[in-house]
């Protein structure tokens, strides 16, 4: 019965599985979806599902998906009234939100100021601290190697040197000693400048025994702000997530409450609108947590939250952008069961996770009542060397964690992919491992325990064989 006067047509400024996901949400919300596609993506699944396609340039992202002017002009040419940026690419770029506003387009995301404060990790830490959220031992932006050394001495090694404009696991260096810091500071700053156009660095204590736990937020223009519970994303390699689950059952209920409260406090401080995620590092030795960063966009792993809450996060984003109220209040949100997501990447695990582009020759995803596969791939699809390696997200829901692990393993077994190498077998190894089943892992477990054991196993196999 709500009149959708504000949004009728949405430009999907992204590609891959998230573009498909957004097109689907648009259809469910009775909105037309126009997909912005590079030359490499003209025949993509998202393009085929969309009402129309606008071509925004060559395959290389810097000439297409990363060009604000191409996106905005594409939206205007196709008579869109809103732009959904997805994740990655321009999703956390305040200048896209600004250019949308300047041209009468609704940006599906928080306001420009929130994006800017969230994107500057030093500023985000300051906002979090002011909101009473623990930020842990660390610093604001440091002036140089000497200042960093003084701070690191106070915290104790190892430390992380992080780019103020980084985030999402990029722009981080682990430093183990003062000598190491002296040597690597200038390089890290130079790399941050090259990658993000901002060479500022800050220092954080490196927590050896930690879990990565995050809280999903949704806010609207009418003062509505809810959290949809937490996700545990501790199975990582080089700060990149491989397996995610909801809820974060490894933590005590009391700690999980505190995380949710902290996330909501930060959301209030930022006057948060749309979907966002507050990431925390949980120190397993100190039974405490610190704020890591806030991501002002929909996250790759959002489906696990959808599976246990029944709330469609992308549809809520569209509702909020249109000026409507969230469809849920905090009291409506309840967590039922457990969900696990495996990110199936086209990578060669044996080859040191080298990306494996090529043509998918066979593609049979598993199906079933509690199985969801978010993907843009199909048999005959060519995995392009231009983009990241994610080809599918396998999301499985169960009554509880053991049940979900068993169902996920079964689904992984039935997922037939040929033509490119994938991380599927690695995820099978993660889910089969006793440490994972017993919640006895941390953010370093995959790299320090699982991967070395797999290399040994392979070596033994080849000796025997």
């Amino acid at each position: 019965m709500t009149s959708r006067t504000k949004i009728r047509r949405v430009l999907v400024a992204n590609r891959g599985e998230i573009a498909v996901r957004i097109v689907r949400a648009c259809r469910q919300e009775d909105l037309e979806a126009i997909v912005a596609a590079s030359e490499a993506d003209q025949d993509s699944l998202a393009a085929r599902l969309a009402t129309d396609v606008v071509h925004i340039g060559p395959a290389s992202p810097t000439q297409s998906y990363l060009r604000v002017e191409q996106i905005v002009a594409g939206a205007l040419l196709t008579c869109c009234d809103a732009v959904h940026p997805g994740y990655g690419f321009l999703s956390e770029r305040a200048d896209l939100a600004e250019a949308c506003a300047a041209n009468g387009l609704i940006f599906v995301g928080p306001c420009v100021d929130t994006i800017r404060r969230g994107g500057d990790k030093v500023e985000a830490r300051r906002v979090a601290r002011a909101a009473g959220v623990p930020t842990g031992a660390g610093s604001d932006a440091v002036g140089g190697a000497d200042a960093a050394l003084a701070i690191a001495d106070g915290i104790g090694y190892p430390i992380l040197l992080k780019a103020a404009a980084g985030g999402g696991g990029r722009g981080m260096v682990r430093i183990d000693s003062p000598g190491d810091l002296a040597v690597r500071f200038a390089t890290a700053s130079g790399e941050a400048d090259a990658a993000f156009g901002d060479g500022r660095l800050y220092v954080e204590r490196y927590v050896e025994n930690a879990r990565h736990v995050e809280v999903q937020l949704l806010g609207d223009h009418h003062g509505g702000l809810v959290h949809l519970g937490d996700r545990d994303c501790s199975t990582q390699r080089r700060f990149q997530k491989l397996v995610e689950e909801a809820p974060a059952t490894a933590l005590s209920g009391e700690l999980r409450h505190r995380l949710a409260d902290a996330a909501v406090a930060l959301g209030r401080a930022l006057d948060y609108r749309g979907a966002g995620t507050v990431e925390f590092l949980v120190d397993l030795d100190r039974h405490d947590f610190t704020f890591l960063e806030i991501n002002t966009r929909v996250q790759v792993e959002h489906p696990v939250t959808e599976m246990v809450t029944g709330v469609d996060i992308v549809r809520e984003q569209l509702r909020v952008a249109a000026g409507e109220r969230l469809s849920v209040s905090q009291d409506d949100v309840s967590i039922t069961g457990h969900a696990i997501e495996c990110r199936i990447n086209a990578e060669s695990v044996a080859g040191g996770f080298l990306p494996s582009p090529g043509t998918i020759t066979r593609w049979v995803p598993p199906a079933g009542d509690h199985i969801r596969v978010d993907s843009h791939a199909f048999a005959g699809y060519e995995v392009s060397p231009y983009y990241d390696s994610l080809i599918a997200k396998l999301i499985v829901r169960g009554a509880d964690r053991p049940d979900t692990i068993a169902a996920s393993l079964d689904a992984l077994d039935r997922f037939e992919i040929e033509g490119v190498e994938t991380t599927r077998d690695l995820q099978r190894a993660v889910l089969s491992h006793d440490d994972f089943r017993n919640e006895a892992i941390n953010t370093r477990w995959l790299e320090t325990t699982l991967l070395p054991s797999m290399t040994t196993a392979t070596a033994e196999e080849s000796t025997v064989g």
């Binding site: 126009i34 606008v54 071509h55 290389s60 002009a73 205007l76 040419l77 990306p355 060397p385 231009y386």
Partner: protein, 158 residues
């Protein structure tokens, strides 16, 4: 005005009040190419006939390849540097900078010859031997396949 004309007008107006230097977008039988740079071809904002092949002259120019790749086969005894994986060949550290290596240049075994970008991963390809670069096979920005010859190096006699 037709809706197509209105859409084009909106794009042109947005371009005029922005600091954008160029846009080039296409949807259905509409294509809009606007540029502040004095181009060889005048900026266009015209409907193109559906199904007709795209005129290529208006495409954004690729950065010039640092040097003209040679087509000749590697000289006998030369060490051939090959692509370690499929990906995009970058011959300079970033656009506008001189290439890592060019014909006639002497390189160390540990020298970076080029970058192969594959799914956001930047792989620095090393020379492997010390010597003089005698041939360059790939153009900047092209997609290369696994094992494709990229450079030939005449090893220095030591």
């Amino acid at each position: 005005m037709s809706s197509a004309e209105e859409a084009i007008k909106r794009v042109v107006e947005a371009f005029e009040r922005s600091d954008w230097s160029e846009i080039d977008i296409r949807s259905g039988d509409l294509r809009v190419h606007l540029s502040t740079v004095a181009a060889q071809s005048p900026p266009t904002a015209v409907p193109i006939a559906a199904g007709r092949p795209e005129p290529d002259d208006a495409a954004a120019p690729e950065p010039d390849p640092p040097a003209t790749p040679s087509a000749a086969p590697p000289p006998t005894g030369a060490h051939v540097v090959v692509a370690p994986s499929p990906g995009i060949l970058w011959r300079s550290p970033e656009p506008g900078l001189p290439p890592f290596a060019d014909v006639g240049q002497t390189v160390d075994a540990s020298a970076t010859m080029c970058i192969i970008e594959v799914m956001k991963l930047m792989n620095h390809v090393k020379a492997g031997v010390s010597g003089e670069v005698v041939a360059v096979y790939g153009e900047n920005g092209v997609v290369v396949h696994n094992g494709q010859a990229l450079f030939a190096i005449a090893p220095s006699s030591s």
